[in-house]
């Protein structure tokens, strides 16, 4: 299993996510982590092993308590992995904002269209090509990249 798959597998469990949420507030011992769950120590240790294997948690070496600590690098990889999906919509929402400007303007000008009007249309409306050139328009195509 590659690193990202291991991260996702580790994150796919609600108890482990809540352990990570706890560790996001600071280091904690296994005992402290087990306290809120009324869970046996071995059971918490098993979850911690999965998290350690995925690189999400490390344990201190010197201290007798061996406090557990959250490692953010794998989470950053998850964010990066998600980024294109996020970007797909972020980018489109910029255009939605532009579209809504014209819709609001049309309504104010009296071209009211009832919100419930949703009959499928076969007309392709090219009016948005103008808006594309607007202030939040597309990034310039750059050949050198």
């Amino acid at each position: 299993m590659d690193a990202l798959s291991a991260t996702f597998a580790a994150l796919a469990d609600p108890t482990r996510r809540s352990i990570l949420a706890h560790l996001a507030r600071g280091e904690a011992t296994v005992n402290e982590l087990a306290a809120p769950y009324a869970m046996s120590l071995p059971s918490v240790s098993r979850h911690l092993k999965v998290l350690e294997k995925a690189g999400l948690v490390t344990k201190g070496r010197s201290a007798q308590w061996r406090p557990c600590r959250l490692e953010v690098t794998p989470l950053q990889s998850v964010d990066a992995w998600m980024a294109p999906y996020r970007a797909f919509f972020e980018h489109r929402f910029d255009r939605l904002e532009e579209r809504l400007k014209t819709m609001v303007a049309e309504r104010e000008a009296g071209f009211t269209k009832p919100a419930a009007a949703t009959e499928p249309s076969h007309r392709v409306n090219a009016e948005l090509t103008d808006i594309d050139a607007g202030e939040s328009g597309p990034p310039q195509q750059s050949k050198e990249r």
Partner: protein, 169 residues
Amino acid sequence: MATHALERGFTLKRVLDAPRDLVFQAWTDPECLQWFFNDRMATPSDPIVVDLRVGGEWRQKMIIRDDLEFFTGGIYREIVPVERLVFTWGAVGGWPPIDRDHPENDLVVTVTLHALGESTEMVFHLAMPAHLSDERVREWLAMGIRDGWSETLDRLVASLNGAAPAGAQ
């Protein structure tokens, strides 16, 4: 730290300067959905199709290059006019691919609209099933990245990730 994803999925919020019936219309009226196109593409001759009922499809074609185009859109799961729209994101035979025989693999989008006076807070959530194989998701991702805005993505990934390259071990 709390901003890092602990689940497969993410939430985006926007306050839009329009009443929510218009925002809902922008999501569901085929005459208003041009904003969803790739803005660098050629205009497709295929019409945007919206069948606004549960189980109905919304389809529109993305043209990326002369030799690369695909359908996207969704299949509606829940429709509460002006408040809430839930759909499986993608298209049968499109991107992301929807397999009607395997709804457990669906990427589910929930758009919730809250009225803020004459404005609207739009909360967008994309949920991905945790069990999806990584290989599968990578395939989708590879296709999505071709969607003509790789520079934007590069910038975004760089800003999210600091110095660490995307997908770093």
